[in-house]
Subunit: 119 residues, 2 copies
């Protein structure tokens, strides 16, 4: 998916998106129920707009959802992390995922996950 | 990557592209040398152009490159396959990969592979 300028989630999420899911998360995407250990990665890459193509530039940020119902009970059982660029340590989430969850809560019936499998 | 209308590879390859590589192919993308067993998948998905986003529609076709230097000596050591839509049997290549290779030959110094790793 590509988020263009003018999208409600732009400029934070403007760019090319890849979603990666481990097996437990794939099961959840199918069923709507996520078991502990499910991990979803939301990778946002700068998009380079050319006349006849859109290419990938540098990575903007990487968001992670990690299911652990007990540990993250306050945020729907999901731990939220968000890393700047290619960094594995520079975090963009400082509130324990509260702001993430406040938006994801709209997807409660789908396990708090916005992503959908391609049909 | 997204190929738009007007691109030299459009309309065949117009859409959202994903490239998947196994470990041997990832090694090749880094080194330019591909060992037997390297597999690259080139997945083309219809793009749905919206005002503020581009979303994925149905799969158009899946192209496969499989390295076996002896078996596919006539086409640079690569076996080329191309499947229609989500089919695992309906082939779009009937010439043993000759037409594919005729274009890929321009990338001889990179092991006949067009794809580049994101920097």
């Amino acid at each position: 998916m590509v988020i263009k300028e003018g999208h409600p989630f732009s400029p934070t999420f403007q760019g090319i998106h890849h979603i990666y899911a481990n097996k437990k998360a794939t099961h959840g995407l199918n069923s709507g129920e996520y078991l502990d250990g499910a991990v979803l990665i939301f990778d946002t890459i700068t998009s380079i707009d050319r006349k006849d193509s859109i290419e990938e530039g540098v990575r903007k940020h990487v968001a992670v959802m990690h299911k652990d119902a007990k540990k993250f009970a306050k945020t729907g059982g999901w731990g939220f992390e968000w890393f700047n660029g290619n960094s594995k340590s520079e975090k963009m989430v400082e509130d324990g995922g509260k702001a993430c969850f406040d938006c994801h809560v709209s997807e409660k019936t789908r396990g708090y996950v916005f992503s959908r499998l391609r049909k």
